[in-house]
Amino acid sequence: MRKYETLQGYLYISPWLIGFALFTMAPMFVSLYLAFTRYDILSSPQWIGFGNFKTMFTADERYWSAWKATLTFVFVAIPLRLAFALAVAMLLNTKLKLLGLFRATFYLPTLIGGSVAVAIMWRQLFGTNGALNSVLAAMFGVTEKVSWITQPSTAMWTLILLAVWQFGSAMLIFLAGLKQIPASLYEAADIDGAGRWHKFRKITLPLLSPVLFFNLIMGIINGFKVFTEGLIVTNGGPFDKTLFYVLYVYEKSFRYYEMGYGSAMAWVLLLTTAAFTLIVFATSRSWVFYESGRR
């Protein structure tokens, strides 16, 4: 009898399963095959074994620029975004009258965030004749017009800012997590004379750690996948300062007709992301506390 129920279940999810198999799993396996070939899209792939990987790690300067840009982004933007999200969540964790309105407003950037339209707008804002320069001129009398998105020292920061601006989704999750912390704990701490920082470190953070863990993992994975912003706002420039890994994959595969190399790069990215995720999981035993007491 249970067999019928299992079968029913599979049938219900079959549309998604078939889609997944055809459009996600199958291409992944093809890409694994392509990673060991030279494939210029216009003619058939030629097997070259580990050639792509060899070139990648020994003969491609731009490859390391891509890693540098991506890792900078992951290690700066993600923590900043989470810190911001937590700070705002704590601010909102009070009995505000317009709480719903504030929540929605802060969440809005995330909704529209990953899109091309916002990236184009961001480029406008931080360009030579953009809004930021106008504001600086009007409010601070700064007359020199800097192009924030094309200057080597600031280009990456405009992109980091764009990522941090989309803190809304992490904030919502933090807010939900905060609300679950029993008020009685804070009251007990107050009675014992604990200060704000102490309460934060000893109560809020540990009890929020599962949520933090989740946001961190998601943030890291999404950070490694950053693409749209790099393409639209700075196009990887200037001279590859913001050449995100996936952007480089795109360039190599579609612009320079090296799909095999791009596939190899994609698999290296997958393995690296998995490695980072595993590291976070492994360390989680020591800093993530679940209320039930055990994982």
């Binding site: 079959s14 078939i18 210029d40 216009l42 800097v146 360039e251 612009r255």
Partner: protein, 449 residues
């Protein structure tokens, strides 16, 4: 019993959801704009009879309203003459165009008529994606009688004609005649030197204006030709110049201009997306050479500046070694097009018929069939007449165009830009940049194809 019925019910439900879901996309955010699936022609591959409806697909490069409008006008005229043929055109601008073409090539979905440029046609022909046009030339579907071969030979690769040149073009340095006059600068002649160019830009700076922008790879290629070298070697497997001083001189000069402030700041230039965004188009600079403009783009600047523009050879072109005439685009037929004869008819109409010529008015390049030029005299705008005159000047001061760029050219363009930006942001010296560019470019060119 109940369990069996509900099993059947869930099976039906799942299937109906599956079928209904088939229509939409996977929602992964992939946005391929044009619904190119619709057009593909009917099953018969045999030559069609007049009664049968045929649809041809055409891809064009460009996104400005003028580009699309002129193209559609020609299509309409063609469809009037051939009521059984319908042409669907898709347009993409910039780098995206070639990205899209390569995806179409990979999925065996190339359009019947492909607009392809000199740089890419060799790559596509060598990969066996294009149909040789010679049979159509022989049976006069494409009528090349009376046409100087110099106009059509650009499309001939390894003896076969793979594309028909849709119009001639040449690199050009635009200048703003009013601005130059007000600044007291004489209009450039064919003997214009680099020294005079620098002096004139300084004069403009004195009036609070800019001279020009930094020089891109297109100008660099002409620069090399002026010094007797080339950008790529004959076989396309290494750079065409041995002396790195040619590279570092090119950048030393520009660094000097940059320090003097007579060219626009690099930061502003990096933000430029379209033709209308450059300092010349915005009326801030007196000359427009650095960004690599072409003679057929004159209309855009005439409109942007609200008045006639001046056309000049690049500085240092007096001895005729540097400049060249180039086919603007080719029309090619995809190897697996189901209606090659109709596609050839359209190609012929577009390039060699007077009706099309009158619609296009030289927008995609100057026509080269004498009857078309003659028949257009009454409608040629001043701009077109100026362009034709300019092309004649170029013809007198030019040498044969370089071979088509090798397959790694777009990557090398990017590498050149990267090194060039590094030099201008003063992260490396021109001498180091020369060595770096050589190393990177040779690595790309040396790859087995």
């Amino acid at each position: 019993m109940r369990k069996k019925t509900s099993l059947l019910g869930s099976a039906l439900l799942a299937t109906s959801v599956l079928i209904s879901g088939c229509g939409g996309s996977a929602g992964s955010g992939d946005s391929s704009a044009a619904p190119s699936g619709g057009a593909s022609s009917s099953a018969s591959a045999a030559p069609s009879d007049p009664g049968e409806k045929i649809t041809l697909r055409l891809t064009i490069w460009g996104s400005s309203p003028m580009t699309i409008g002129k193209n559609d006008a020609v299509i309409k005229k063609f469809e009037e003459l051939h009521p059984n043929i319908k042409i669907e055109s898709e347009n993409y601008a910039g780098d995206v165009y070639f990205d899209k073409l390569s995806v179409m090539a990979a999925s065996n979905n190339l359009p019947d008529i492909i607009r392809i440029d000199y740089g890419n046609i060799q790559n596509y022909a060598s990969k066996n994606l294009l149909l040789p046009l010679d049979p159509f030339v022989e049976d006069k579907t494409i009528n090349l009688d009376g046409i100087d071969p110099v106009h059509t030979e650009g499309g001939r690769i390894d003896g076969d004609l793979y594309g028909l040149n849709i119009g001639n073009n040449a690199p050009v340095m635009f200048y703003n005649p009013k601005m130059l006059e007000e600044a007291g600068i004489a209009a450039p002649t064919p003997d214009y030197t680099w020294e005079q160019y620098e002096k004139d830009m300084e004069t403009l700076q004195g009036k609070g204006l800019l001279g020009d922008t930094h020089m891109g790879m297109q100008v660099f290629a002409v620069w090399l030709r002026q010094q007797g070298a080339k950008l790529y070697g004959e076989a396309g497997d290494k750079l065409g110049y041995e002396d790195d001083k040619l590279f570092s001189d090119f950048f030393d000069i520009q660094l000097r201009w940059q320090k003097k402030g007579i060219i626009s700041p690099l930061g502003t230039e990096l933000e430029i997306k379209g033709l209308e965004d450059g300092p010349f188009a915005k009326g801030q600079a007196g000359f427009g050479a650095g960004l690599g403009y072409w003679s057929n783009q004159a209309d855009v600047f005439v409109e942007a500046l609200g008045g006639p523009v001046g056309y000049a050879l690049y500085p240092g072109s007096g001895d005729g070694k540097g400049m060249y005439i180039k086919p603007s685009f080719f029309h090619s037929i995809a190897k697996n097009s189901k209606h090659p004869k109709e596609a050839a008819q359209f190609i012929e109409f577009y390039t060699n018929s007077l009706e099309a010529g009158r619609e296009l008015n030289g927008y995609f390049g100057i026509p080269y069939k004498q009857e078309v030029i003659d028949g257009m005299q009454d409608i040629l705008t001043d701009t077109q007449k100026s362009i034709i005159a300019y092309l004649e000047t170029v013809r007198q001061h030019s040498s044969k165009i370089d071979n088509p760029e090798p397959a790694g050219h777009s990557e090398i363009q990017k590498l050149f830009k990267n090194v060039s930006d590094e030099i201008f942001f003063e992260k490396i010296t021109p001498a180091d940049g020369a060595a770096k560019f050589r190393e990177l470019a040779n690595a790309v060119l040396g790859k087995p194809k």
